[in-house]
Amino acid sequence: MTISIPSITLSNIGPLLTLTVAGLLLLLMDALTPKGKKGYFPYLSLIALVIAAVQTTMLWNRSGTDFARMIYVDNFAFFFYLIFLLATGLTILISIKYLEDYHRNLEEYYTLLIFATIGMMLMAAGGHLILIFLGLEILSIAIYILAGLFREDVKSNEAALKYLILGAFSSAFLLFGMAMLYGATGSLFLDDLAQAIKAGVGTNPLLLFGMGLLIVGFGFKVSSVPFHMWTPDVYEGAPTSVTAFMSVGTKAAAFAALVRIFFLVFPEIKMEWNMLLWGLAVATMTLGNVVAIAQTNIKRMLAYSSIAHAGYLLVALVAANQLGAISFLYYLVAYTLMNLGAFAIVILVARKKDDYINIYDYCGLGFQYPALAAAMSVFMFALAGIPPTAGFVGKFYVFSAAVEAGYIWLAIIGVMNSLISVFYYLRITVLMYMRPAEADLGPVTMTPAISSAVLVTAAGVLAIGVFPGPLYELALNSVKIFVGL
């Protein structure tokens, strides 16, 4: 018997290899370096991320599959690689000071962030259901540990356990859905699934059941209503830097896999799923925005706001046309920048001892720290979708995609939801500039790392808001793989 080994090109997974090596190296060095000499670890991980980003840009415009069709090598995956690397890099920048303040500057933290990034990349590139599942679990298990990083803090414990139970619960739904898809078509490759559906197993009840379970599983991961219950608790209890990472990274990765599966495998049976997702999108936007109004804890408020943003992203998914896919990518970049920026400010304002995470702690920030307040206002305007920020352009693309696909009411509901969201985002701005300070915040220590993170995000939000063209072109290049749209 002869065994044929498929030909592989290692450079196709170059960024993943770099990060894997970097993660393992960090773990090894952690064991060998004496205590107190580990201050350069975060910068080392940043270098690895930069190398991976350079490799990704060098791979740009490659197309096809590799590793016996297990991995998609295409611009869609590369675009997501860059989003993930950006999110991880910014998270590392905002974490250093925060972890030092809590005496938890553990080196494993950076290793786990890097491993989580690898998981996210596998989800974006996976061409086989096993690979998507593995990517999801690599990501999730790293984040379960990160959420429970403050071992002595009961809130952190609670958040980690809740996330673990609900995460494993939703993974089981996702897996059962994958098993049903396998049962309906006899293959686990996304290509083969798409072909089988084209060939006419579209109305097979097993297939529809599997698709429904996939929606449930991914719905948990992207925190769409009615599977959102864990989000506020986990976001509140987890360390703030981890919350920032979760709110952009996990969501982007789950959406990457969701979009790839739905636009590549299920476009033929669009009629079966778009009304379901229509309902999910409306419920997610509305509940997220309405409940966010009632929150006084800023982390909880941002958690509900992230639920609402998942709703806007679902609108782009429902539209299922080319503009929808483009707006989806654009919106994710914008969301990554503005949300991480907002969390950077939350970390700066909230310091040890008294956690200043009540929104009334932001009273008078505009007089004490004008630059900080100005940056926060930019992020709040962007999240609310006010021009000339990236949030506005993103929402404009998303809702035009919905109108183009004929979902006028969905666009109207979305715009009304943005109006509701203006209330709670602008409340922060009003508190910062129009109320006297209630408590003395004390000195806010700006380190170069976190200042540069705030600067990059604020500049990015404004830059891609004023000049959306180049990013639009990149996104257009990336979604050409979805021929069915």
């Binding site: 096993i130 379960y144 540990i145 009961v154 089981a172 059962f176 049903m180």
Partner: protein
């Protein structure tokens, strides 16, 4: 004797449903984990059934990945439960209510 495919689907769906109900109604964190394991094993059963039906190997391969991942998940989960037990001396999820669900 050949077991019809529908039997596999019915049994795994029943197991999965029992697991879901267990997660929703039991309050002990360890039992909740056992119920999640049951859900994962229901998936494994259906994968093996389908692999047998299609005379293909990939379904059985998937089972190994699921088992490995489940073990990793439980390792993290038990570590978290130990950390919680040290802080609060309970593993009842109803008493983990610092933040409202």
């Amino acid at each position: 004797m050949v077991v019809p495919l529908i039997y596999y689907i019915a049994l795994s769906s029943a197991l999965f449903a029992i697991g879901v109900i267990g997660v929703l109604i039991r309050r002990n964190a360890i039992i909740i984990f056992m119920c999640i394991e049951m859900m994962l094993n229901a998936v494994n059963l259906s994968l093996v059934g389908f692999a047998d039906h299609y005379q293909a190997i990939d379904g059985q391969m998937f089972v190994f990945f699921v088992m490995t991942v489940a073990a990793a998940e439980v390792a993290v989960g038990l570590a978290l439960i130990v950390a919680i037990f040290r802080n609060k001396a309970t593993v009842n999820v109803d008493e983990l209510n610092l933040m409202k669900w």
